[in-house]
Symmetry: D2
Subunit: 423 residues, 4 copies
């Protein structure tokens, strides 16, 4: 379907600018959001044209005149709505300011979102690489490349995009997502049919592998404490995990389990504390340190089972990031948090699906780095992890409030059922 709209009574306005929005602007709530921002920020609007797609997933298009009583207000509005995909129709190039020092942007720098973004250079729209929220955008010296750069990584002389002019954001459309994980929404309700969710996640893991995507697992130590290391090991052996991000704790307790049969000193086979078990994790770290690291420990035959062992044997690209609550840590842990972030950035290239399990710290850290088009499922028995992830801008997250071990047990069964053609 397609409509033409004729304005009946345009009203005069001191400062105006025409913007355009494309996509599922009604269905995905972009239009209401933009109109709400305009009026909420003290402006007014005129819908000059609106074309609404007839079919559920057909794109729509709207032309809106934004009006404000001062140039400053107009600018503030334009900046805000540009993050939701409203692009000025009268186009100008983005503004570039050279960084005047290392490790900080010039005041007024454009602050990136995690949505696909383009900047206009010499009349052409240039896609921004390494899309990541809360960065600046730096243009290469030859003005042929644009990429997101973290504050610490900017160098004096870098050409940094300033303001919002000449920047356009192409928001992910939620509509498409709904096909896959629609029913889960962003809700944190625990009263939803869980079997369906588990089946969809199994399907997504298999689809990712089949289509040559990459799956990133971000996991916390509760995976081991709850007795789920075997489930993850199975998934690794089945080639379903390409990258693992975790901390010292997951690796330590996994190795503790392999060496001593306990996690935090609790026997995983019968649930009772081991004698002197509270020391096991420390002795496990010490032994790996003596061996020179996880990989050498596998080679030397010290470590013969568990998640980390399977990572080594199955060439999973694992990264252990340090935190101030670490004991030890294991020699593989990157203790500098900036260095760990840089390494994570490298490894998320090509990741298309991310499963976060039972870790608030690592989930939020990875959520900060992921572009909005990477699907994210966050599993935690504590609703607050899911809530925080969304509060911090990783909107694409599908949250599942459930218990790690029974969830992973069921997931592994679904994976087997789906592959064996049982469904």
């Amino acid at each position: 379907m397609s409509l033409k709209i004729v304005t009946v009574a345009p009203r005069s306005a001191l400062h105006v600018e025409e913007v355009e929005i494309r996509g599922h602007i009604i269905d995905s709530l972009i239009l209401p959001k933009v109109l709400d921002l305009i009026t909420g920020l003290g402006g007014s609007f005129l819908i000059k044209q609106i074309v609404i797609g007839q079919e559920r997933f057909d794109p729509s298009h709207a032309l809106i005149e934004v009006q404000a009583d001062s140039a400053e207000k107009l600018l503030a509005i334009l900046q805000q709505i540009s993050d939701h995909g409203a692009v000025a129709t009268v186009l100008q190039d983005c503004q570039l300011t050279p960084a005047d020092m290392d490790g900080a942007f010039p005041e007024g720098f454009y602050s990136s979102t995690n949505q696909r973004t383009e900047v206009r250079i010499a009349g052409n729209w240039l896609a921004v690489n390494d899309q990541e929220m809360d960065c600046g955008v730096v243009i290469s010296a030859d003005r042929a490349q644009a990429r997101c750069v973290a504050m610490t990584d900017v160098r004096r002389g870098d050409l940094v995009v300033s303001g919002h002019a000449g920047v356009r954001v192409l928001p992910e459309e939620r509509a498409a997502d709904r096909q896959l994980f629609g029913f889960m929404g962003s809700s944190v309700s625990t009263e939803k049919p869980k079997g369906v969710a588990i089946r969809e996640i199994a399907h997504e893991l298999l689809r990712t592998r089949a289509e040559g995507g990459r799956t990133l697992l971000v996991g916390g130590p509760a995976i081991v404490h709850t007795g789920s290391a075997g489930h993850i090991s199975q998934m690794i052996r089945d080639g379903l995990i390409d990258v693992l991000f975790a901390g010292n704790a997951l690796a330590t307790h996994d190795i503790e389990q392999s060496l001593f049969g306990t996690s935090l000193g609790i026997h995983l086979s019968h649930g009772l504390p081991a004698e002197a078990g509270h020391e096991h994790h420390l002795r496990a770290i010490n032994r790996i340190r003596r061996a020179g690291g996880i990989r050498p420990a596998v080679t030397q035959g010290i470590l013969t089972s568990g998640i980390m062992y399977e990572c080594v044997q199955n060439h999973v690209d694992y990264l252990l990031a340090g935190s101030i609550r670490d004991d030890g840590p294991l020699p593989d842990v990157i203790t500098d948090t900036l260095e760990a972030q840089r390494e994570m950035r490298k490894r998320i290239h090509g990741v298309t699906f991310c499963l976060m399990i039972a870790t608030a710290l690592h989930s939020i850290a990875v959520g900060n780095l992921l572009p909005a088009w990477v699907k994210v499922v966050c599993v935690d028995i504590n609703p607050s992890t899911v809530i925080k992830l969304s509060d911090r801008g990783t909107f694409q997250t599908v949250g599942l409030v459930t218990d790690v071990e029974p969830f992973l047990r069921a997931l592994v069964q679904e994976l087997q059922a789906e592959r064996s053609g049982a469904r």
Copy 2:
């Protein structure tokens, strides 16, 4: 602003019906919701006219042709979208079916929402009284009155509205609400500025009293356990509570505190368990039963302080509803749950503001009975209470995840500050 829309390419459709939506249809997300329902249920649509209010709170208007490939599908769509305020433009009267037995509706009965509703009788729209979700609508014998009736209360021969034809729903518009409690939204995040929320609730309580509205407090025993009975007592003495709904537990522990200084056996003055304190609540109930009830106990000088005492002294209309976990109970408790529901229905007439504190059971029960235009604030340290309330249709609820005692302490201070003109 006002626009005229000319359809460019209407497409043929087997079954069509034109519907109309009015109100803040874009701003309050009604239009996207309706369009989403139409396509989600397998239909298609044609926007024949759209007029969008220019100012933030100006009403809009849309004329939509709903299309489906079967009459049944069209009917299903029309039923669904009618709950969101979409009304057929070709009007017909509602259909009436006499109840064929006591205590049950005829199959196909119209099931009510908690939104303002009108039914069309002999060409006229009749407002439905006693609006309540999950009821039927019964028309008086003279066809001059319509009201919501609970399933147990329908009597053989009652004229019950069937189907959705001739029924129109006038949804509350969320936009207006935003003025007052906007920032809290339906979020259950604990990371919000709490001082602002407390100030707004204080303001709302004072405004309700000033404007002659009625405030209903729905409270659980944690009010007493956390040491907050004094704060509620103060609010009652200040005339800020008109109606109290609670259970046996709140009243029992309040009386336990008054008689023994403990709640669930814990001394509220120093937090330590009393000797034989676990028996105190039982002895408190026994003493009130011996006196013949709360009111007689006040008259006889047995009960001289606390929430229930203040209710009696300040003519607060209190209702204690029974539950299967009650000890005793107190003689005032209505142990039949249907009888308790009927009494609650009587007392919510005229209630304009409802404060729910620390009780999932009573909050959901009252939420079921309240029409959508009564403002509801639900305070609980457990996010699940707030989530459940919204899941069950009490959409207007503003949730505040916080701790009862410090919250009420701060609320009483805000009330004093606001009245003393300190702000």
Copy 3:
């Protein structure tokens, strides 16, 4: 092992009484608790003899002289420690006071615990029947029988035990329990190996059936919402559930699922909302009301699957207790809460194992009624349910903070594995 202890320096004390404790008094922390209470309440003590069992589960025995500087203080101490099994060695009969009115005890009545209790009548210790916390103890007219009576059920003239003299409590010993569910303890930690817990619960269910015990399931509607009705149905068909206590909500949504395939309007097969699905539960109730109840609906072929259907077909003794948040309710629901309590009391006779799933209200209600020697496992994703249950005196509860559907799925698998001799 057996020791004799000779007091070195007994000190004078104004008011003294000798008490005796038997059982695992050190291992199960009874002795420390009693000594702590004595000194905490201002008294002092002299351990006159102590015999400590050599083997882990051998009983021990202690003879303690309690000392206080006033008769009142001594009495208060004796009352408190008697609840923990300390019995005066100089024995006296219990004191009886006739009830002076219906529905209330005389002041000073003995308030019962949920532990095995005996009262001394004419020099003989008489076991108390129907043991239940927060009741009085009534002696039959012929003084040959003693039983716990709820406050509402006492009748004028009943002989009610007063004070603590002549009453002795025989506490359950936690030591024995540890064998079975030891590792779970009372902890609410979510970071425990869940597979072990599930295996132990499966084992307990099978053992109960094999030994002729009775298993009571107390369940909330989240069982249905999360898509777990099939798991419970399987357990019923396998003869593992003897009694079901639930509310209107579990039965309603179970029937909604059977009739419409939805729970609270959400399709359990694909997790998406059904059209007009929010009305389904109401239509389900209406249809059962029209049929005259659940059993007639099964007979008439209206209800052909689900938990309630299986209860009818497999002669599970089910009880639906009303609450004020009920829609409808179903005709089978007992709407009077006192009547519901009386019916629950009848049905818990002979129950030896109780599994509580996803309901705070019913779990606490049933916990109030159960004697301390019935094993209780409480499963909820919300830790607060487990915490409240213990706070309210159902100390024997083993709490498992996990998600209902994956938990029940794994439990059914464990049951099958254990029966098939797979382990």
Copy 4:
């Protein structure tokens, strides 16, 4: 009181060792715990002498013969019970093994607890300095000093204590604690009288200052998000905080609030999102980076209010530890986690009271470092933080599940009331 115990029937045992326990061995549950461990690990025991203190807080004393059927089992038992204060009566020196490499202990190293510990060198008991859990104990070359050393800090040639022989642990006795924070216990119940807890914390803060102790505040960003930065600022100005441990987030949002009036982009004065507010925290960090750090920003007049400003002005020793979820970070943040741990160790010397607010990461990290005799209060609205802290061995923690802003508001009022002599 004092008793002599004569063994009646000692039984033969293959391997025996006599141990001694002192302190409140019954009252504080040490004796039951030790006996439980002995039998739980497969040994048996003979209580050869027991002297029980008469007054509530008088120390007791027990002499126990531990028996096991193999030397290995006996050793395992002795190791376990030594952590609870059971010391062999036949004394031997601790065993020392030189470290054979940097950064790892020799296998079999003694793993420390957070309790006061002594090691026996040349017949003398030497107190261990820098007591910290999960470390090794290193003896100085002249054998005159012993101290806890983290795994990463051990150097080749260091003399490391091996095994448990010659090590004795002097557990903190919980009895004494009960005086102060007794009622709160380790429970995570939300249904406790909160006013009492707040009053006790206020009292402890003032007592610490009056007695020359040091108070460490460990805080998360929710302090700022909930609008509580002003309360903490007040406490700093009043000299109640000596040391602050936090992360980049608390400092960033505190500075964001000072510069822009928002926290995570939410206006703290009215709770509504600011225009482009999600960028504010990034612009705040950038501005501080441009200034060269927090202290320079204060000096240059850029930062003029808030927690960090008050720290600078009032000479609070603050430490910001990095994490992988940090944006920026601020120049003051220590990004290497091992370096941050070392700096924290330095600053906790002399700390006598620790208040942890709304941060799981930093609370657990600091809990790992603190000796057991430093009082810890952990405040969080999420019970899981408190549960995790105890699970990980910081047993002395008193948990308070409450909401940050109303809690701190009430705390500041209590502090003012107590100082003004209002109570």
